[in-house]
Protein backbone atom coordinates (compact mmCIF):
# COMPACT_ATOMS: atom_id res chain seq x y z
CA UNK A 1 0.00 0.00 0.00
CA UNK A 2 1.39 3.37 -0.99
CA UNK A 3 2.18 5.79 1.72
CA UNK A 4 -0.18 8.75 1.85
CA UNK A 5 1.00 11.76 3.77
CA UNK A 6 -1.63 12.88 6.29
CA UNK A 7 -1.55 16.33 4.73
CA UNK A 8 -2.28 14.96 1.24
CA UNK A 9 -5.16 12.78 2.34
CA UNK A 10 -6.58 15.86 4.03
CA UNK A 11 -6.35 17.81 0.74
CA UNK A 12 -7.92 14.93 -1.11
CA UNK A 13 -10.81 14.92 1.28
CA UNK A 14 -11.39 18.64 0.79
CA UNK A 15 -11.35 18.18 -2.99
CA UNK A 16 -13.78 15.30 -2.67
CA UNK A 17 -16.07 17.41 -0.53
CA UNK A 18 -15.95 20.26 -3.00
CA UNK A 19 -16.78 17.93 -5.87
CA UNK A 20 -19.69 16.56 -3.86
CA UNK A 21 -20.83 20.08 -3.19
CA UNK A 22 -20.71 20.92 -6.91
CA UNK A 23 -22.65 17.79 -7.71
CA UNK A 24 -25.20 18.69 -5.13
CA UNK A 25 -25.80 22.18 -6.54
CA UNK A 26 -25.96 21.06 -10.16
CA UNK A 27 -29.75 21.06 -10.76
CA UNK A 28 -31.81 24.03 -9.89
CA UNK A 29 -29.08 26.02 -8.25
CA UNK A 30 -26.70 25.76 -11.17
CA UNK A 31 -29.49 26.82 -13.49
CA UNK A 32 -30.10 29.81 -11.23
CA UNK A 33 -26.40 30.72 -11.25
CA UNK A 34 -26.44 30.43 -15.02
CA UNK A 35 -29.57 32.56 -15.26
CA UNK A 36 -28.06 35.22 -13.00
CA UNK A 37 -25.07 35.58 -15.27
CA UNK A 38 -27.36 36.71 -18.10
CA UNK A 39 -27.65 40.47 -17.77
CA UNK A 40 -30.47 40.81 -20.31
CA UNK A 41 -32.57 38.38 -18.32
CA UNK A 42 -32.00 40.33 -15.13
CA UNK A 43 -33.17 43.54 -16.79
CA UNK A 44 -36.24 41.69 -18.05
CA UNK A 45 -36.97 40.22 -14.64
CA UNK A 46 -36.61 43.62 -13.00
CA UNK A 47 -39.04 45.15 -15.49
CA UNK A 48 -41.65 42.42 -14.98
CA UNK A 49 -41.36 42.72 -11.20
CA UNK A 50 -41.80 46.47 -11.60
CA UNK A 51 -44.94 46.02 -13.75
CA UNK A 52 -46.35 43.39 -11.38
CA UNK A 53 -45.70 45.76 -8.47
CA UNK A 54 -47.47 48.60 -10.26
CA UNK A 55 -50.44 46.37 -10.93
CA UNK A 56 -50.59 44.94 -7.42
CA UNK A 57 -50.48 48.35 -5.76
CA UNK A 58 -52.47 50.13 -8.45
CA UNK A 59 -54.66 52.13 -6.02
CA UNK A 60 -51.57 53.53 -4.30
CA UNK A 61 -49.34 53.97 -7.34
CA UNK A 62 -51.93 55.60 -9.58
CA UNK A 63 -52.46 59.34 -9.42
CA UNK A 64 -56.10 59.49 -10.52
CA UNK A 65 -59.24 57.38 -10.65
CA UNK A 66 -58.77 55.45 -13.92
CA UNK A 67 -62.48 55.67 -14.73
CA UNK A 68 -63.16 59.29 -13.83
CA UNK A 69 -64.06 61.22 -16.96
CA UNK A 70 -63.50 64.89 -17.43
CA UNK A 71 -64.79 66.21 -20.71
CA UNK A 72 -63.08 69.55 -20.30
CA UNK A 73 -59.67 67.87 -20.21
CA UNK A 74 -59.90 65.60 -23.23
CA UNK A 75 -56.76 64.41 -25.04
CA UNK A 76 -54.38 66.70 -23.22
CA UNK A 77 -50.63 66.18 -23.68
CA UNK A 78 -48.55 65.07 -20.69
CA UNK A 79 -48.39 67.59 -17.84
CA UNK A 80 -47.17 67.47 -14.26
CA UNK A 81 -50.70 66.61 -13.18
CA UNK A 82 -51.35 63.98 -15.87
CA UNK A 83 -47.97 62.32 -16.43
CA UNK A 84 -48.98 60.68 -19.69
CA UNK A 85 -51.80 63.04 -20.66
CA UNK A 86 -55.49 62.24 -20.82
CA UNK A 87 -57.54 60.13 -23.22
CA UNK A 88 -60.57 60.92 -25.36
CA UNK A 89 -62.83 61.05 -22.29
CA UNK A 90 -60.41 63.00 -20.14
CA UNK A 91 -59.30 59.98 -18.12
CA UNK A 92 -55.73 59.87 -16.81
CA UNK A 93 -53.68 57.66 -19.14
CA UNK A 94 -50.98 56.85 -16.59
CA UNK A 95 -53.50 55.59 -14.02
CA UNK A 96 -55.30 53.57 -16.67
CA UNK A 97 -52.03 51.94 -17.71
CA UNK A 98 -51.29 51.07 -14.08
CA UNK A 99 -54.69 49.44 -13.65
CA UNK A 100 -54.36 47.83 -17.07
CA UNK A 101 -51.20 46.06 -15.88
CA UNK A 102 -53.39 44.07 -13.51
CA UNK A 103 -55.58 42.71 -16.28
CA UNK A 104 -52.92 42.15 -18.90
CA UNK A 105 -50.49 40.30 -16.64
CA UNK A 106 -53.24 38.44 -14.80
CA UNK A 107 -55.00 37.22 -17.92
CA UNK A 108 -51.72 36.25 -19.59
CA UNK A 109 -50.38 34.35 -16.61
CA UNK A 110 -53.61 32.62 -15.58
CA UNK A 111 -54.58 31.66 -19.13
CA UNK A 112 -51.14 30.27 -19.89
CA UNK A 113 -50.91 28.42 -16.57
CA UNK A 114 -54.23 26.66 -17.10
CA UNK A 115 -53.21 25.78 -20.64
CA UNK A 116 -49.78 24.55 -19.55
CA UNK A 117 -51.27 22.28 -16.90
CA UNK A 118 -53.81 20.80 -19.33
CA UNK A 119 -51.22 20.49 -22.08
CA UNK A 120 -48.76 18.76 -19.76
CA UNK A 121 -51.36 16.23 -18.63
CA UNK A 122 -52.41 15.53 -22.21
CA UNK A 123 -48.76 15.19 -23.31
CA UNK A 124 -47.89 12.87 -20.42
CA UNK A 125 -50.83 10.59 -21.09
CA UNK A 126 -50.35 10.59 -24.84
CA UNK A 127 -46.62 9.89 -24.67
CA UNK A 128 -46.76 7.35 -21.89
CA UNK A 129 -49.72 5.28 -23.03
CA UNK A 130 -49.00 5.46 -26.75
CA UNK A 131 -51.18 3.36 -29.04
CA UNK A 132 -54.56 4.63 -30.15
CA UNK A 133 -54.71 7.23 -27.35
CA UNK A 134 -51.55 8.81 -28.69
CA UNK A 135 -52.74 8.69 -32.30
CA UNK A 136 -56.06 10.27 -31.38
CA UNK A 137 -54.51 13.04 -29.30
CA UNK A 138 -51.94 13.87 -31.95
CA UNK A 139 -54.60 14.02 -34.67
CA UNK A 140 -56.68 16.43 -32.60
CA UNK A 141 -53.61 18.57 -32.01
CA UNK A 142 -52.83 18.57 -35.73
CA UNK A 143 -56.34 19.90 -36.27
CA UNK A 144 -55.85 22.62 -33.67
CA UNK A 145 -52.61 23.61 -35.38
CA UNK A 146 -54.62 24.29 -38.53
CA UNK A 147 -55.97 27.40 -36.79
CA UNK A 148 -52.80 29.40 -36.24
CA UNK A 149 -52.33 32.16 -33.69
CA UNK A 150 -55.35 34.28 -33.23
CA UNK A 151 -57.72 32.45 -35.61
CA UNK A 152 -58.94 29.88 -33.09
CA UNK A 153 -59.37 32.64 -30.51
CA UNK A 154 -61.50 34.70 -32.91
CA UNK A 155 -63.62 31.70 -33.73
CA UNK A 156 -64.27 30.68 -30.13
CA UNK A 157 -64.88 34.17 -28.81
CA UNK A 158 -67.20 35.11 -31.62
CA UNK A 159 -69.32 32.14 -30.56
CA UNK A 160 -69.03 32.47 -26.77
CA UNK A 161 -69.02 36.28 -26.68
CA UNK A 162 -66.25 38.44 -25.25
CA UNK A 163 -65.58 38.27 -21.50
CA UNK A 164 -62.65 37.93 -19.17
CA UNK A 165 -63.34 34.24 -18.49
CA UNK A 166 -63.71 33.42 -22.18
CA UNK A 167 -60.46 35.23 -22.85
CA UNK A 168 -58.69 33.05 -20.30
CA UNK A 169 -60.26 29.90 -21.77
CA UNK A 170 -59.08 30.85 -25.24
CA UNK A 171 -55.54 31.58 -24.06
CA UNK A 172 -55.48 28.23 -22.24
CA UNK A 173 -56.69 26.37 -25.33
CA UNK A 174 -53.99 28.10 -27.32
CA UNK A 175 -51.21 26.81 -25.05
CA UNK A 176 -52.40 23.19 -25.06
CA UNK A 177 -51.18 21.90 -28.46
CA UNK A 178 -47.63 23.24 -28.19
CA UNK A 179 -47.18 22.06 -24.64
CA UNK A 180 -48.59 18.60 -25.20
CA UNK A 181 -46.37 18.10 -28.24
CA UNK A 182 -43.26 19.07 -26.31
CA UNK A 183 -44.13 16.99 -23.25
CA UNK A 184 -45.09 14.00 -25.37
CA UNK A 185 -41.81 14.15 -27.27
CA UNK A 186 -39.88 14.22 -24.03
CA UNK A 187 -41.89 11.42 -22.47
CA UNK A 188 -41.36 9.20 -25.50
CA UNK A 189 -37.60 9.29 -24.99
CA UNK A 190 -37.75 9.31 -21.19
CA UNK A 191 -39.86 6.18 -20.88
CA UNK A 192 -37.11 4.13 -22.49
CA UNK A 193 -34.64 5.24 -19.82
CA UNK A 194 -33.37 2.66 -17.35
CA UNK A 195 -34.77 4.29 -14.25
CA UNK A 196 -38.28 4.32 -15.69
CA UNK A 197 -37.94 0.68 -16.73
CA UNK A 198 -36.61 -0.10 -13.26
CA UNK A 199 -39.54 1.62 -11.60
CA UNK A 200 -41.87 -0.36 -13.83
CA UNK A 201 -40.13 -3.58 -12.98
CA UNK A 202 -40.50 -2.77 -9.29
CA UNK A 203 -44.23 -2.56 -9.83
CA UNK A 204 -44.73 1.20 -9.67
CA UNK A 205 -48.14 2.26 -10.93
CA UNK A 206 -48.62 4.31 -14.07
CA UNK A 207 -49.66 7.42 -12.19
CA UNK A 208 -46.67 7.13 -9.90
CA UNK A 209 -44.26 6.79 -12.80
CA UNK A 210 -45.80 9.71 -14.63
CA UNK A 211 -45.81 11.96 -11.59
CA UNK A 212 -42.52 11.00 -9.92
CA UNK A 213 -40.31 10.04 -12.83
CA UNK A 214 -41.54 11.52 -16.07
CA UNK A 215 -42.92 14.89 -14.98
CA UNK A 216 -39.88 16.15 -13.01
CA UNK A 217 -37.56 15.23 -15.86
CA UNK A 218 -39.54 17.12 -18.44
CA UNK A 219 -40.00 20.20 -16.27
CA UNK A 220 -37.25 22.25 -17.94
CA UNK A 221 -38.90 22.65 -21.36
CA UNK A 222 -42.28 23.12 -19.68
CA UNK A 223 -40.97 26.08 -17.70
CA UNK A 224 -39.34 27.60 -20.77
CA UNK A 225 -42.41 27.30 -22.97
CA UNK A 226 -44.72 28.46 -20.19
CA UNK A 227 -42.69 31.65 -19.93
CA UNK A 228 -42.69 32.25 -23.67
CA UNK A 229 -46.39 31.37 -23.67
CA UNK A 230 -47.16 34.26 -21.31
CA UNK A 231 -45.51 36.64 -23.76
CA UNK A 232 -47.61 35.27 -26.57
CA UNK A 233 -50.76 35.40 -24.42
CA UNK A 234 -50.22 39.09 -23.72
CA UNK A 235 -49.82 39.78 -27.44
CA UNK A 236 -52.93 37.74 -28.22
CA UNK A 237 -54.92 39.59 -25.56
CA UNK A 238 -53.85 42.88 -27.10
CA UNK A 239 -54.75 41.70 -30.59
CA UNK A 240 -58.16 40.51 -29.40
CA UNK A 241 -58.64 43.88 -27.73
CA UNK A 242 -57.88 45.47 -31.08
CA UNK A 243 -60.56 43.29 -32.71
CA UNK A 244 -63.04 44.24 -29.99
CA UNK A 245 -63.11 40.64 -28.71
CA UNK A 246 -60.95 41.13 -25.67
CA UNK A 247 -61.52 42.90 -22.38
CA UNK A 248 -64.45 45.24 -22.89
CA UNK A 249 -64.35 48.99 -22.20
CA UNK A 250 -64.55 50.89 -19.92
CA UNK A 251 -62.31 48.32 -18.16
CA UNK A 252 -58.74 49.55 -18.56
CA UNK A 253 -56.63 47.02 -20.44
CA UNK A 254 -53.57 47.76 -22.59
CA UNK A 255 -55.01 46.19 -25.73
CA UNK A 256 -58.28 48.10 -25.69
CA UNK A 257 -56.54 51.34 -24.72
CA UNK A 258 -54.33 50.90 -27.76
CA UNK A 259 -57.35 50.09 -29.86
CA UNK A 260 -59.17 53.22 -28.64
CA UNK A 261 -56.13 55.36 -29.24
CA UNK A 262 -55.93 54.49 -32.92
CA UNK A 263 -59.02 56.56 -33.64
CA UNK A 264 -57.16 59.66 -32.50
CA UNK A 265 -53.95 58.89 -34.35
CA UNK A 266 -53.72 62.39 -35.81
CA UNK A 267 -54.82 64.44 -32.83
CA UNK A 268 -53.20 62.52 -29.98
CA UNK A 269 -50.72 59.90 -31.18
CA UNK A 270 -49.42 59.43 -27.64
CA UNK A 271 -52.70 57.72 -26.67
CA UNK A 272 -51.63 54.84 -28.87
CA UNK A 273 -47.87 55.08 -28.40
CA UNK A 274 -47.85 54.63 -24.60
CA UNK A 275 -49.84 51.39 -24.27
CA UNK A 276 -48.14 49.88 -27.32
CA UNK A 277 -44.69 50.68 -25.97
CA UNK A 278 -45.64 49.18 -22.63
CA UNK A 279 -46.94 45.98 -24.24
CA UNK A 280 -43.78 45.71 -26.34
CA UNK A 281 -41.49 46.26 -23.38
CA UNK A 282 -43.37 43.72 -21.26
CA UNK A 283 -43.30 41.11 -24.00
CA UNK A 284 -39.62 41.74 -24.72
CA UNK A 285 -38.85 41.32 -21.01
CA UNK A 286 -40.73 38.04 -20.79
CA UNK A 287 -39.03 36.77 -23.94
CA UNK A 288 -35.63 37.69 -22.50
CA UNK A 289 -36.45 35.72 -19.35
CA UNK A 290 -37.66 32.77 -21.43
CA UNK A 291 -34.51 32.75 -23.56
CA UNK A 292 -32.29 32.89 -20.49
CA UNK A 293 -34.24 30.07 -18.86
CA UNK A 294 -33.76 27.97 -21.96
CA UNK A 295 -30.02 28.58 -21.92
CA UNK A 296 -29.85 27.87 -18.20
CA UNK A 297 -32.03 24.76 -18.15
CA UNK A 298 -31.13 23.09 -21.41
CA UNK A 299 -27.91 21.12 -20.94
CA UNK A 300 -27.43 20.72 -24.68
CA UNK A 301 -27.17 24.40 -25.44
CA UNK A 302 -24.72 25.01 -22.63
CA UNK A 303 -21.24 25.33 -23.95
Amino acid sequence: MAYVAPEDSYKQKIAQLEADELLRISGTKRAWLEFRRNRFALVGTAFIIFIAFMGAFAPIVSTHDPYKQSLRKRMKPPTTEHWMGTDELGRDVYSRLVYGARISLFVGIVGTTVGVICGTIVGLISGFFGGWVDTLVMRVIDIMYAFPGIVLAILIISVLGPSLINLIIVLAIYAIPTLSRIVRGNVLSLKEQDYVQAAQALGAGRLRIMYLHLLPNTMAPIIVYATLGVAFAILTTAALGFLGLGVQPPQAEWGNMLSNGRQYLRKAPLLMIFPGALISMTVISINLIGDALRDALDPYIQS
Binding site: V151, A239, G276
Partner: protein
Protein backbone atom coordinates in the same frame (compact mmCIF):
# COMPACT_ATOMS: atom_id res chain seq x y z
CA UNK B 1 -40.72 8.75 -51.56
CA UNK B 2 -43.94 8.62 -53.55
CA UNK B 3 -45.42 6.45 -50.86
CA UNK B 4 -44.50 9.02 -48.26
CA UNK B 5 -46.05 11.88 -50.23
CA UNK B 6 -49.24 9.92 -50.85
CA UNK B 7 -49.49 8.99 -47.19
CA UNK B 8 -48.97 12.60 -46.24
CA UNK B 9 -51.63 13.69 -48.72
CA UNK B 10 -54.12 11.21 -47.28
CA UNK B 11 -53.40 12.50 -43.79
CA UNK B 12 -54.36 16.02 -44.83
CA UNK B 13 -57.92 14.97 -45.58
CA UNK B 14 -58.87 13.94 -42.02
CA UNK B 15 -57.23 17.13 -40.77
CA UNK B 16 -59.47 19.27 -42.95
CA UNK B 17 -62.53 17.23 -42.00
CA UNK B 18 -61.43 17.62 -38.38
CA UNK B 19 -61.09 21.37 -38.75
CA UNK B 20 -64.63 21.60 -40.08
CA UNK B 21 -65.80 19.42 -37.20
CA UNK B 22 -64.03 21.70 -34.76
CA UNK B 23 -65.85 24.75 -36.13
CA UNK B 24 -69.13 22.85 -35.96
CA UNK B 25 -68.44 21.96 -32.33
CA UNK B 26 -67.57 25.56 -31.56
CA UNK B 27 -70.96 26.55 -32.97
CA UNK B 28 -72.70 24.13 -30.65
CA UNK B 29 -71.03 25.89 -27.71
CA UNK B 30 -73.00 29.05 -28.44
CA UNK B 31 -74.96 30.15 -25.41
CA UNK B 32 -78.62 29.56 -26.23
CA UNK B 33 -79.64 28.74 -29.76
CA UNK B 34 -76.89 28.49 -32.41
CA UNK B 35 -79.47 29.75 -34.89
CA UNK B 36 -79.29 33.13 -33.13
CA UNK B 37 -75.82 33.58 -34.58
CA UNK B 38 -77.33 33.64 -38.04
CA UNK B 39 -79.76 36.43 -37.30
CA UNK B 40 -78.44 39.87 -38.31
CA UNK B 41 -77.87 41.94 -35.15
CA UNK B 42 -80.10 44.77 -36.33
CA UNK B 43 -83.18 42.50 -36.50
CA UNK B 44 -85.27 43.04 -33.36
CA UNK B 45 -88.44 41.59 -31.80
CA UNK B 46 -90.97 40.26 -34.35
CA UNK B 47 -88.52 40.53 -37.23
CA UNK B 48 -85.93 38.47 -35.41
CA UNK B 49 -88.46 35.77 -34.50
CA UNK B 50 -89.65 35.50 -38.08
CA UNK B 51 -86.10 35.41 -39.37
CA UNK B 52 -85.19 32.77 -36.81
CA UNK B 53 -87.92 30.55 -38.24
CA UNK B 54 -86.47 30.95 -41.68
CA UNK B 55 -82.96 30.19 -40.45
CA UNK B 56 -84.14 27.10 -38.62
CA UNK B 57 -85.84 25.91 -41.74
CA UNK B 58 -82.90 26.67 -44.01
CA UNK B 59 -80.09 25.31 -41.83
CA UNK B 60 -82.26 22.73 -40.10
CA UNK B 61 -81.29 23.66 -36.55
CA UNK B 62 -84.32 21.69 -35.31
CA UNK B 63 -83.09 18.48 -36.91
CA UNK B 64 -81.21 15.85 -34.90
CA UNK B 65 -77.55 16.77 -34.36
CA UNK B 66 -76.00 14.02 -36.50
CA UNK B 67 -78.13 15.13 -39.41
CA UNK B 68 -77.13 18.74 -38.85
CA UNK B 69 -73.50 17.72 -38.71
CA UNK B 70 -73.73 15.74 -41.95
CA UNK B 71 -75.42 18.64 -43.69
CA UNK B 72 -72.85 21.11 -42.40
CA UNK B 73 -70.01 18.90 -43.55
CA UNK B 74 -71.55 18.47 -46.98
CA UNK B 75 -72.13 22.19 -47.43
CA UNK B 76 -68.68 23.17 -46.22
CA UNK B 77 -66.85 20.60 -48.32
CA UNK B 78 -68.88 21.92 -51.24
CA UNK B 79 -67.45 25.35 -50.44
CA UNK B 80 -70.80 26.70 -49.27
CA UNK B 81 -70.42 28.78 -46.10
CA UNK B 82 -73.87 30.37 -46.23
CA UNK B 83 -74.59 34.03 -46.86
CA UNK B 84 -73.29 37.09 -45.11
CA UNK B 85 -75.74 38.51 -42.58
CA UNK B 86 -74.99 42.09 -43.58
CA UNK B 87 -74.76 41.93 -47.36
CA UNK B 88 -76.73 38.70 -47.99
CA UNK B 89 -74.08 37.72 -50.52
CA UNK B 90 -72.69 34.17 -50.51
CA UNK B 91 -69.58 34.08 -48.32
CA UNK B 92 -67.70 31.79 -50.69
CA UNK B 93 -68.03 34.29 -53.56
CA UNK B 94 -66.69 37.10 -51.38
CA UNK B 95 -63.79 34.91 -50.31
CA UNK B 96 -62.86 33.95 -53.85
CA UNK B 97 -62.78 37.59 -54.83
CA UNK B 98 -60.50 38.50 -51.93
CA UNK B 99 -58.06 35.61 -52.00
CA UNK B 100 -55.79 37.10 -54.73
CA UNK B 101 -55.23 40.26 -52.66
CA UNK B 102 -54.31 38.24 -49.60
CA UNK B 103 -52.01 35.98 -51.60
CA UNK B 104 -50.23 39.01 -53.06
CA UNK B 105 -49.59 40.52 -49.64
CA UNK B 106 -48.83 37.17 -48.00
CA UNK B 107 -46.28 36.13 -50.62
CA UNK B 108 -44.54 39.52 -50.46
CA UNK B 109 -44.36 39.36 -46.67
CA UNK B 110 -43.19 35.76 -46.77
CA UNK B 111 -40.39 36.55 -49.21
CA UNK B 112 -39.32 39.52 -47.11
CA UNK B 113 -39.38 37.42 -43.93
CA UNK B 114 -37.46 34.56 -45.53
CA UNK B 115 -34.81 36.81 -47.06
CA UNK B 116 -34.34 38.82 -43.87
CA UNK B 117 -34.59 35.86 -41.51
CA UNK B 118 -32.12 33.63 -43.31
CA UNK B 119 -29.51 36.27 -44.11
CA UNK B 120 -29.61 37.94 -40.70
CA UNK B 121 -29.71 34.60 -38.88
CA UNK B 122 -26.67 33.29 -40.74
CA UNK B 123 -24.86 36.59 -40.18
CA UNK B 124 -25.60 36.47 -36.45
CA UNK B 125 -24.34 32.88 -36.25
CA UNK B 126 -21.08 33.74 -38.04
CA UNK B 127 -20.51 36.77 -35.85
CA UNK B 128 -21.67 35.06 -32.67
CA UNK B 129 -20.62 36.76 -29.47
CA UNK B 130 -19.86 40.07 -31.17
CA UNK B 131 -21.88 43.28 -31.11
CA UNK B 132 -23.27 42.42 -34.56
CA UNK B 133 -24.81 39.28 -33.07
CA UNK B 134 -26.26 41.18 -30.13
CA UNK B 135 -27.67 43.93 -32.33
CA UNK B 136 -29.30 41.42 -34.67
CA UNK B 137 -30.76 39.47 -31.78
CA UNK B 138 -32.26 42.63 -30.29
CA UNK B 139 -33.65 43.52 -33.72
CA UNK B 140 -35.20 40.05 -33.99
CA UNK B 141 -36.57 40.12 -30.45
CA UNK B 142 -38.26 43.46 -31.02
CA UNK B 143 -39.88 42.05 -34.16
CA UNK B 144 -41.25 39.09 -32.24
CA UNK B 145 -42.44 41.18 -29.30
CA UNK B 146 -44.21 44.16 -30.85
CA UNK B 147 -47.97 44.00 -31.31
CA UNK B 148 -48.24 44.08 -35.10
CA UNK B 149 -51.07 46.60 -35.19
CA UNK B 150 -49.12 48.98 -32.99
CA UNK B 151 -46.10 48.76 -35.25
CA UNK B 152 -48.43 49.32 -38.20
CA UNK B 153 -49.85 52.51 -36.70
CA UNK B 154 -46.41 53.77 -35.77
CA UNK B 155 -45.33 53.31 -39.40
CA UNK B 156 -48.50 55.01 -40.65
CA UNK B 157 -47.79 57.88 -38.28
CA UNK B 158 -44.20 58.16 -39.48
CA UNK B 159 -44.48 57.59 -43.22
CA UNK B 160 -48.11 58.44 -43.83
CA UNK B 161 -48.52 61.56 -41.72
CA UNK B 162 -45.24 63.08 -40.54
CA UNK B 163 -43.12 62.31 -43.62
CA UNK B 164 -45.92 61.60 -46.09
CA UNK B 165 -44.09 59.52 -48.68
CA UNK B 166 -46.25 56.39 -48.56
CA UNK B 167 -50.03 55.92 -48.74
CA UNK B 168 -51.33 55.03 -45.27
CA UNK B 169 -53.92 52.51 -46.46
CA UNK B 170 -55.92 50.98 -49.26
CA UNK B 171 -55.35 48.83 -52.31
CA UNK B 172 -53.21 50.19 -55.09
CA UNK B 173 -49.82 49.85 -56.68
CA UNK B 174 -46.55 48.69 -55.19
CA UNK B 175 -46.41 51.75 -52.95
CA UNK B 176 -49.53 50.64 -51.12
CA UNK B 177 -47.93 47.30 -50.39
CA UNK B 178 -44.74 48.57 -48.78
CA UNK B 179 -46.00 49.29 -45.27
CA UNK B 180 -48.23 46.21 -44.85
CA UNK B 181 -45.47 43.98 -46.20
CA UNK B 182 -42.96 45.41 -43.75
CA UNK B 183 -45.30 44.97 -40.78
CA UNK B 184 -46.33 41.45 -41.73
CA UNK B 185 -42.81 40.42 -42.71
CA UNK B 186 -40.89 41.87 -39.77
CA UNK B 187 -42.72 39.82 -37.14
CA UNK B 188 -41.99 36.59 -38.98
CA UNK B 189 -38.46 37.67 -39.84
CA UNK B 190 -37.77 38.08 -36.11
CA UNK B 191 -38.64 34.52 -35.17
CA UNK B 192 -36.97 33.17 -38.29
CA UNK B 193 -33.71 35.02 -37.55
CA UNK B 194 -33.59 33.51 -34.09
CA UNK B 195 -34.28 30.05 -35.42
CA UNK B 196 -31.76 30.22 -38.28
CA UNK B 197 -29.08 31.45 -35.90
CA UNK B 198 -29.50 28.60 -33.42
CA UNK B 199 -29.78 26.04 -36.21
CA UNK B 200 -26.55 27.33 -37.77
CA UNK B 201 -24.75 27.37 -34.42
CA UNK B 202 -25.69 23.74 -33.89
CA UNK B 203 -24.20 22.77 -37.25
CA UNK B 204 -21.07 24.91 -36.92
CA UNK B 205 -20.00 22.93 -33.85
CA UNK B 206 -20.39 19.56 -35.52
CA UNK B 207 -17.61 17.20 -36.49
CA UNK B 208 -18.03 17.39 -40.25
CA UNK B 209 -17.56 21.14 -40.17
CA UNK B 210 -14.42 20.73 -38.08
CA UNK B 211 -13.20 18.08 -40.51
CA UNK B 212 -13.77 20.39 -43.44
CA UNK B 213 -11.82 23.13 -41.71
CA UNK B 214 -8.95 20.83 -40.80
CA UNK B 215 -8.75 19.64 -44.41
CA UNK B 216 -7.95 23.23 -45.24
CA UNK B 217 -11.22 24.17 -46.91
CA UNK B 218 -11.54 27.93 -47.05
CA UNK B 219 -13.81 29.51 -44.45
CA UNK B 220 -16.10 30.69 -47.23
CA UNK B 221 -16.55 27.19 -48.60
CA UNK B 222 -16.93 25.66 -45.16
CA UNK B 223 -19.79 28.03 -44.67
CA UNK B 224 -21.53 27.70 -48.00
CA UNK B 225 -20.91 24.07 -48.87
CA UNK B 226 -21.00 22.45 -45.46
CA UNK B 227 -22.62 24.54 -42.75
CA UNK B 228 -25.29 26.39 -44.68
CA UNK B 229 -26.68 23.36 -46.50
CA UNK B 230 -27.18 21.42 -43.31
CA UNK B 231 -28.11 24.35 -41.15
CA UNK B 232 -30.91 25.45 -43.43
CA UNK B 233 -32.62 22.05 -43.73
CA UNK B 234 -34.65 22.38 -40.53
CA UNK B 235 -35.43 25.95 -41.57
CA UNK B 236 -37.65 24.66 -44.40
CA UNK B 237 -39.97 23.29 -41.75
CA UNK B 238 -40.06 26.57 -39.88
CA UNK B 239 -40.70 28.48 -43.08
CA UNK B 240 -43.97 26.60 -43.38
CA UNK B 241 -44.96 27.48 -39.83
CA UNK B 242 -44.05 31.07 -40.59
CA UNK B 243 -46.31 31.14 -43.60
CA UNK B 244 -49.16 29.91 -41.40
CA UNK B 245 -48.50 32.73 -38.96
CA UNK B 246 -48.37 35.24 -41.78
CA UNK B 247 -51.84 34.03 -42.74
CA UNK B 248 -53.03 34.64 -39.17
CA UNK B 249 -51.20 37.94 -38.90
CA UNK B 250 -52.79 39.19 -42.09
CA UNK B 251 -56.11 39.51 -40.21
CA UNK B 252 -54.69 42.37 -38.16
CA UNK B 253 -52.44 43.89 -40.79
CA UNK B 254 -55.06 43.90 -43.54
CA UNK B 255 -57.51 45.56 -41.15
CA UNK B 256 -55.11 48.33 -40.19
CA UNK B 257 -54.16 49.09 -43.78
CA UNK B 258 -57.67 48.55 -45.18
CA UNK B 259 -56.23 45.94 -47.55
CA UNK B 260 -59.24 44.14 -49.02
CA UNK B 261 -58.14 40.55 -48.44
CA UNK B 262 -59.49 37.61 -46.49
CA UNK B 263 -58.11 39.06 -43.25
CA UNK B 264 -60.02 42.31 -43.55
CA UNK B 265 -63.11 40.31 -44.50
CA UNK B 266 -62.77 38.30 -41.30
CA UNK B 267 -62.20 41.49 -39.30
CA UNK B 268 -65.36 43.06 -40.75
CA UNK B 269 -67.24 39.87 -39.99
CA UNK B 270 -66.09 39.99 -36.37
CA UNK B 271 -66.99 43.66 -36.04
CA UNK B 272 -70.43 43.13 -37.58
CA UNK B 273 -71.13 39.93 -35.60
CA UNK B 274 -71.50 38.21 -38.94
CA UNK B 275 -70.96 34.59 -38.03
CA UNK B 276 -71.14 32.94 -41.48
CA UNK B 277 -68.38 35.30 -42.61
CA UNK B 278 -66.26 34.53 -39.54
CA UNK B 279 -66.54 30.76 -39.90
CA UNK B 280 -66.00 30.86 -43.66
CA UNK B 281 -62.84 32.94 -43.38
CA UNK B 282 -61.51 30.87 -40.45
CA UNK B 283 -62.10 27.64 -42.37
CA UNK B 284 -60.40 29.04 -45.44
CA UNK B 285 -57.37 29.99 -43.35
CA UNK B 286 -57.35 26.54 -41.74
CA UNK B 287 -57.49 24.84 -45.13
CA UNK B 288 -54.62 27.01 -46.38
CA UNK B 289 -52.56 26.11 -43.34
CA UNK B 290 -53.10 22.40 -43.95
CA UNK B 291 -52.10 22.92 -47.57
CA UNK B 292 -48.99 24.88 -46.58
CA UNK B 293 -47.97 22.15 -44.15
CA UNK B 294 -48.43 19.57 -46.85
CA UNK B 295 -46.23 21.54 -49.25
CA UNK B 296 -43.63 22.01 -46.53
CA UNK B 297 -43.45 18.28 -45.90
CA UNK B 298 -43.12 17.56 -49.60
CA UNK B 299 -40.41 20.22 -49.85
CA UNK B 300 -38.58 18.58 -46.96
CA UNK B 301 -38.58 15.24 -48.72
CA UNK B 302 -37.18 16.86 -51.81
CA UNK B 303 -34.37 18.72 -50.06
CA UNK B 304 -33.48 16.22 -47.35
CA UNK B 305 -32.57 12.79 -48.69
CA UNK B 306 -32.52 11.33 -45.18
CA UNK B 307 -36.31 11.47 -44.90
CA UNK B 308 -36.78 9.56 -48.12
CA UNK B 309 -35.26 6.44 -46.67
CA UNK B 310 -37.21 6.41 -43.47
Amino acid sequence: MQKYIIRRLLLAIPTIVGAITLVWFAMQLAPGDPALMFVPPDYQGEDAAAYLEKINEKYGFNDPLPLQYARYMRNTLGFDFGTSLRTMRPVSEDLVRRVPNSVRLGVAAFLLAAAMGISLGVLAAIKRGTWVDSALMVFALVGVSMPSFWFAYVLILLFGLYIPILPPSGLGGVKHMILPTIVLGYGSAGSLTRYVRSSMLEVINQDFVRTARSKGVSERNVLIKHALRNGLLPVVNVLGINLAFILAGSIIVESVFAWPGVGLYLFDGVQGRDFPVVQGACLLIAASVVLVNLLTDVMLVLVDPRIRFE
